[in-house]
């Protein structure tokens, strides 16, 4: 019985596997989807700054169209009421990262200004970089818009929270339903089938067990031999020629002399009596 404790029931195995797989795979899927959608929404949230940045870019590049240098532009006049008010800061730099204009003087920013159309981010802010080109399309400077990610993140985190709650609700609904279905359609039929097989074995319904792949030939042959020997049939001089391996014994007995056959008869008589008595006492004990 103690050994049972170390064996997991099929039901336990099935429910454990189901739980592990469902939760791990669904969590993985959930994380991937949320990450994928978060990225899309995040880049969408920043898009408007690209639009505004492009308008400013066009304005500045137009001003430089007639040979004016970037450093000599009056940014305060040109960019009046153009820069979005909610940005953390707004810079214009030349190609050597020298700051030519800063919206908010008191705020410092130490990251590099990338001369590509790109967005970078750190823990607190996004940085939108829009390069400025002259007439010959050479990059001569950079527009850098710094946006606090607090507002964007708050918005997105609400969605993530809702996605996580949906995930937990889904797990909470699916798991019990799946448990019930697995117990009804897997565990119970399997367990009951094995019980039936065990019962059939006890009842010696060997033919039906053969269909289940249980090979009983050897056991049946052993039991037949035990029966054959213990009932003394093997000593019977009128031998049943259908019994296996009897041919050599038949030949042996037929080669015996009459004295030997008489002695054999005595042995048969004694053996059969003793064995019959012993068998009945064994059956009685059963």
């Amino acid at each position: 019985m103690r050994e049972n404790l170390f064996r997991l029931k099929l039901r336990t195995k099935v429910l454990l596997i189901t739980t592990v797989i469902l939760i791990s795979i669904q969590s993985f899927n959930s994380i991937l989807e949320i990450a994928f959608l978060y990225n899309h929404l995040e880049s969408n949230s920043i898009k408007k700054y690209y639009y505004v940045g492009n308008v400013i870019k066009q304005k500045l590049e137009k001003s430089m169209a007639f040979g004016k240098q970037l450093e000599s532009l009056n940014f305060s006049r040109l960019l009046k009421d153009t820069i979005p008010t909610e940005v953390e800061n707004f810079y214009i730099s030349d190609s050597d990262e020298n700051i030519l204009f800063k919206q908010f003087e008191e705020k410092q920013y130490s990251n590099s200004f990338l001369l590509d159309f790109t967005t970078t981010k750190n823990n607190m802010t996004y940085q939108v970089n829009i390069p400025l080109h002259n007439k010959s399309t050479k990059t001569i400077g950079n527009i850098v818009i710094i946006i606090s990610n607090a507002q964007i993140r708050d918005r997105l985190y609400k969605l993530i929270k809702e996605a996580v709650i949906n995930f937990l609700i889904m797990i909470g609904i699916i798991l019990p339903i799946l448990y019930i279905i697995l117990i009804v359609y897997i565990d119970r039929p399997y367990t009951s089938k094995i019980k039936k097989i065990t019962q059939r074995f006890r009842n010696k319904e060997y033919e039906s067990l053969d269909l289940e792949g249980i090979e009983l030939d050897n056991l049946v042959a052993a039991e037949a031999l035990i029966e054959h020997i213990s009932t003394g049939n093997w000593l019977n001089l009128d031998l049943d020629k259908n019994i296996e391996n009897e041919n050599s014994i038949t030949a042996l007995i037929e080669s015996m002399s009459q004295d030997e056959k008489d002695t054999l008869k005595e042995i048969i008589r004694d053996w059969v009596t003793i064995k019959k008595n012993e068998n009945s006492s064994k059956n009685g004990k059963k």
Partner: protein
């Protein structure tokens, strides 16, 4: 006992529920995020409208009529140019269109911003049309999400297959085998079978056979006593002989003739291959970009080669290392290693390689790291394939190798989908660390399958003799040469067509994402079809037959690229799709059958399968490396369409040569 049916029921039920739940969850997410996406788009359009309104108000402040403001159309065109989400911007006054800029008049909805005059009365409105591109973007997002769901379902299926087999099907089958061993040997020993449900059944059998065994012992004793009593009397040799013969009959039942062996199923290598390939290829969507980033730190290679070549060096070094490692591990002192030791070593090498990739600071580091990863890949693929071969029967080896192909393709497919997302959300280096983390799961599967002491290289597979002895047999074996040549050309056409030619063929008219979606058809074909197509391929002649049929199909499809005029993107997409599907079908049946044929060659029968398979797989990699080179050379002279066609012709020629050399192959009665 139909354990298989029960395991299948378990797998299908859980898979069905997982699929339903993932689809519902994805739908819910898409709905939620899409509405937020639309809200954001509308808000941005509105803010842009307000921005325009502010700019216009400078003029209106000075009582200039709206219609007389100068260069407004140019201004609006400039804004529209930099705003892909808008299709038009109209300024409407008194229901008349005053100013406009339009890319197209199609829009999914409009956003309106009012323009107020000097006395704050509404004098006009700005209407911004949200472009159809926003909707198309949403649909592309949905398609990409479906790809994620598909990748996760493939991962789910591989895991469920393993668990259903390992914890339901195999224990049930082992319990039946243990029962039959008990019944055959007439011993109560249940061989440590851990099935709770079978415990009582095995105990019942144990009790019964114990009683029978005791009866047999008792009989032997009684016969001994009888024999002694006869001996005490007159000499009765023949009677004693009679008694002894009965004793012998009884004793024969008491001898244990059957040995119980735990069942080792060849499909248990699948999750190891799947998870390892998933981990090993997560970076494949961005490796050249990562290499480009690392090139910013100059090294001694910087002046020697162009940037384009340097970006490709980690990939080339990797492929060369895989080929060489396969030869080393297949022929040297590693050749007869226990699978558990070999795979654990490969995981250790790969782990070190991935960590090194993640922390690499320049291109040299990355190349060295990739070389270490390559040796891990070589070792694990050699031993997993060998495991499948060792534990399949002659009839079933093609079917189980098809399963191996499916797992490999599944890992590749999922890695491309998942790697891109992880890289987008985090960064390139995190992907390598995540790959290293995934190896932990590979090790868990490896421990579960290979730590069993019964899992050792099969005696017939173990290499006998040195590489020179193998080579001596190989060059005299026509079939071995034919199948090796066929394998090299197959890989050459595969890589050359799929990874080189298709992107070039489609790049003029399609985006990279669309090209990737078409190429994905190959992965999907190789995931869903191999087991189905190889189910009935049991004999060598059938293997030869399916290779011929599928290769001819692919060859003809590729040759048709020369003759068909691809006037429209639709025809190009159809041609590329059919080509990749034909390639997938061909490879699904060809790869497993090639190994089956290799295993039936005289070389393998003489020296064992380990070294020939290692050399074969190594030469396959050489073929893979040659693919882009050959197709590139052909394309530079004849153009890409003709290059594909000539590749198809080469493939047909290869098939004919294979048929001529191997047509007399048949199953040997003494199987490997």
């Amino acid at each position: 006992m139909n354990n298989r049916q029960m395991a299948q029921k378990f797998l299908l039920l859980i898979f069905f529920f997982m699929a339903i739940s993932q689809v519902l969850y994805t739908y819910q997410n898409v709905r939620m995020f899409r509405s937020q996406y639309n809200v954001l788009t509308d808000e941005q359009a509105k803010e842009l409208g307000e921005f325009i309104q502010k700019q216009l108000s400078y003029g209106l402040k000075y009582n200039i009529p709206l219609e007389r403001l100068g260069k407004v159309n140019d201004y609006l065109n400039g804004i529209l140019k930099g705003t892909p989400d808008l299709s038009f911007i109209d300024i409407i006054k008194d229901e008349k269109l005053v100013f406009t800029a339009a890319k197209s008049r199609d829009s999914i909805r409009k956003v309106e911003v009012l323009i107020a005059g000097k006395d704050d009365q509404v004098i006009a409105s700005i209407q911004l049309g949200i472009s159809m591109e926003v909707d198309r973007h949403s649909k592309r997002m949905l398609f990409d999400l479906c790809t994620i769901v598909l990748a996760v379902l493939i991962l789910t299926y591989e895991l469920l297959l393993f668990f259903a087999s390992r914890f339901i099907y195999i224990p049930g089958k082992e319990a039946v085998v243990a029962a039959n061993t008990q019944l055959f040997n007439l011993t109560p020993l249940n061989h440590g079978i851990k099935s709770f449900e079978f415990y009582y059944f095995l105990s019942e059998i144990g009790n019964t056979v114990e009683i029978t065994r005791q009866k047999l012992f008792w009989l032997v004793n009684e016969l001994k006593k009888l024999s002694l009593s006869v001996e005490k009397g007159t000499q009765k040799d023949k009677i004693i002989e009679l008694i002894n013969r009965q004793k012998k009959r009884v004793n024969e039942f008491a001898v244990e003739k059957k040995v119980f062996r735990p069942i080792i199923h060849p499909s248990h290598a699948r999750p190891i291959v799947f998870t390892f390939i998933l981990a090993a290829n997560l970076h494949s969507s961005f490796l050249p970009l990562f290499a480009k980033d690392l090139l910013k730190i100059p090294t001694f290679l910087s002046g020697m080669f162009s940037e384009t070549i340097l970006m490709g060096l980690p990939i080339s070094a990797y492929m060369i290392s895989v080929a060489l490692s396969m030869i080393v591990f297949g022929t040297g002192s590693f050749k007869n290693m226990r699978p558990f030791t070999a795979i654990s070593l490969s995981l250790l090498l790969s782990f070190i390689g991935f960590i090194f990739c993640g922390i690499s600071q320049n291109i040299i580091h990355l190349i060295l790291a990739r070389t270490i990863c390559a040796s891990g890949l070589a070792l694990i693929t050699l031993h997993c394939r060998q495991f499948v071969v060792d534990h399949s029967s002659q009839e079933n080896v093609t079917f189980y190798l098809a399963g191996y192909t499916t797992a490999f393709a599944g890992g590749m497919f999922c890695s491309i989908v998942l790697g891109g997302i992880i890289a987008d959300y985090f960064n390139y280096r995190i992907v390598y660390f995540f790959s290293a983390f995934l190896l932990l799961f590979v090790f868990i599967f490896t421990f579960s399958v290979f730590s069993n002491k019964e899992v050792t290289p099969k005696k017939e597979s173990v290499t006998k003799g040195s590489f020179a002895i193998y080579f001596n047999h190989f060059i005299k074996d026509r079939n071995a040469i034919a199948i090796t040549l066929h394998g090299v050309v197959t890989r050459m056409i595969f890589v050359g067509f799929l990874y080189y030619s298709i992107p070039i063929f489609l790049k003029e008219r399609f985006s990279f994402s669309d090209i990737g979606r078409i190429m994905m058809l190959y992965g999907l074909t190789c995931i869903f079809l191999p087991s189905f197509l190889n189910r009935n391929v049991k004999k060598i002649k059938q293997s030869v037959g399916v290779i011929l049929a599928s290769n001819n199909l692919l060859g003809l499809v590729l040759v048709s690229f020369i003759f068909i005029k691809f006037d429209t993107p639709l025809y190009m997409a159809i041609a590329a799709s059919l080509g990749t599907i034909a390639l997938g079908i061909s490879n699904s049946v060809t790869f497993p059958s090639q190994i089956k044929i290799l295993l039936n060659t005289q070389t393998v029968k003489q020296v064992g399968s380990h070294t020939p398979m290692a050399v074969y797989q190594s030469l396959e990699k050489v073929g893979s490396a040659l693919g882009p080179v050959v197709f590139g050379a052909l394309a530079s002279y004849y153009g890409i369409n003709k290059a594909i066609g000539m590749g198809g012709a080469l493939y047909l020629a290869n098939t004919i040569i294979f048929y001529i050399l191997c047509k007399n192959l048949s199953d040997d009665k003494e199987s490997v």
